[in-house]
Point group: C2
Chain length 337, copies 2
């Protein structure tokens, strides 16, 4: 029986901050699954900073979204019809056909959630999904965290940053410092996630606040923000500090070139290593990530918080809000119960 | 018999470009060597970019020069008097008591040159000295050069850069590209050193010239210059390119913060690694460096050129000229035959 699906298309490439009018919710009819295909009804959608890059129409490490075509993104759904006995009806799956109510997918393009998972399905879009893996890969394999390190993470109240800080503590950091964009987020970092120090980057220059928070300097910086934050981290870095460069959300909506750090020569004098990375290069690390991190999420050593927006039609709004910092923890859109 | 030595003292910390009046040539009398000491008469002195940093009075990875005290720097000299039988009179030694005619030194602070060395002693200040080791460490161990890489080096006609380019070819680079500051230097790179491409960074924007010289992008960048050069290298980098960040001579005399690259986000999208390093951290690599590189210098696969300034009293002038790019190859000062 054909299914009516609603899906978002990008209809205009945003200049600066995206507007809801850059997106259109389109209805179409999906046929029944062909051989090896599944019909998935989405329950929760992910909105993530990297999507902003895909809206710009420039190829970087990933293809841009096409205009007037279904958008993509992480999602958890339930299989409603299946021609693959390995993924029967009723299976919860995580996949990349988000921004829509239903998707017709080859079974090879979904990953069933663990049957006995003690956590909500949406956690597989955050702490145990791409953002969590990003935090893990960057902190463990790019920055090479070691016991006793002082770790600084920017954008610390976001989906990735909140995992970085908590993983850092788990891996024996001596001191974990985070920056975020509001007093409420700072309180969340300090009081709920147990960061040793946190500050509101809007309240005073990052460099001064980081110097106060890290009187003995930092050994690891996990960069989600770029700009002033990167400059401050360089200024406060100890010799041989390692930086995992993950994102630069401060510039994603920028229409002119961002403010650049003026102290890059300290990369030499302090013998810093800066490593840019993209989590999709590292699928081979997903298994060890789940093995190491899932138990800590399950038993509460790692705390998970979400900002949930209700309703498929509000996905663009959720996305725009996330880029403005409107989320604490992972921003998700609930599209069905 | 006491010896009259002439030695340079830094008497004022330069603001911007150093002036000869920042230095004073002071005469003093050295006593005879005590137990385990040597009297060394210097033959050739080194002037190097890193010395500019030591003039600024700020501690970075190394202590600044003290005012009104003998300056230091690489030098080759001959032992004139010795109380250590392991380093007899007549031995040629390399050491760090430069900027002076004679030095009284513990024998432990000198390294005798190989007795049968087929190259001029001054080469141990350049191709087979600190600058050569810098090139080797950065290219081999920080950038991890591999066969088939396209390598770009800035400041390519200098002591370090000219070694980087030649070592890159030796290690199987597919294409070696250099920038330098004059048509004469560009000709030197292309015609004498065998660079595949070279350009005068003063002639047109670095980014355009590098894009022309590297139509297939670059895999390794060895940065001696910073600023525009670093931005251009990021812009032209292939995915997973590795940058050895060695220096930023474009900013050494700057009195305001340098122009900073505006495209640092490409560190993420291209998954770049930038590694700052200081050669003095890597003394353990000196032996393999000599083993791998000395034969290539001896048999002419690696070409050595020097810019020689005559006379101790002209050392500040040589130093200032070197910072301006007045040298091709290693800048040295000959103080005695």
């Amino acid at each position: 029986m054909p299914t009516t699906a609603r899906e978002f298309h990008l209809i205009a490439r945003p200049q600066g901050e995206p507007a809801v009018t850059d997106f259109a919710l389109v209805t179409r009819t999906l046929p029944d699954p062909g051989p090896g295909e599944l019909l998935v009804r989405n329950l929760v959608l992910s909105v993530d900073p990297y999507m902003r890059g895909k809206m710009s129409g420039v190829r970087t490490y990933t293809d841009p979204y096409e205009l007037n075509a279904p958008m993509e993104g992480g999602a958890v759904g339930v299989v409603e019809a299946s021609t693959d006995p390995a993924v029967p009806t009723g299976t919860l799956v995580v996949h990349n056909a988000g921004w829509r109510s239903h998707a017709l997918l080859p079974a090879s393009r979904v990953r069933p959630l663990p049957a006995d998972s003690p956590v909500d399905p949406s956690v597989y879009l955050g702490a145990l999904g791409m953002p969590g893996l990003t935090a893990y890969v960057g902190l463990r394999h790019k920055a090479g965290i070691r016991e006793g390190d002082t770790v600084f993470v920017s954008g610390a109240a976001g989906a990735v940053g909140s995992m970085v800080g908590q993983l850092a503590a788990l891996y024996g950091a001596r001191r974990v410092i985070g920056s975020a964009g509001s007093p409420e987020k700072v309180a969340y970092l300090r009081d709920e996630l147990g960061f040793d120090a946190a500050f509101d980057y809007r309240a005073a220059p990052v460099r001064e606040q980081l110097a106060d928070a890290a009187p003995d300097g930092i050994d690891v910086y996990f960069d989600n923000v770029g700009g002033d934050h990167l400059e401050a981290a360089i200024a406060c870095a100890n010799d041989f500090a390692r930086f995992a460069i993950c994102g630069a959300i401060s510039g994603y909506n920028a229409t002119s070139a961002p403010r650049a750090p003026r102290n890059l020569f300290q990369i030499v004098t302090k013998r810093l290593t800066l490593r840019g990375f993209i989590v999709s290069d590292e699928p081979h690390l997903a298994e060890e990530f789940q093995r190491e991190v899932a138990p800590a999420v399950a038993d509460g050593r790692i705390k998970v918080r979400e900002t949930v927006v209700e309703g498929l039609e509000r996905t663009p709004e959720a996305f725009i809000s996330m880029l403005r910092g409107g989320n604490i923890g992972k921003m998700v859109v609930r599209v069905a119960e």
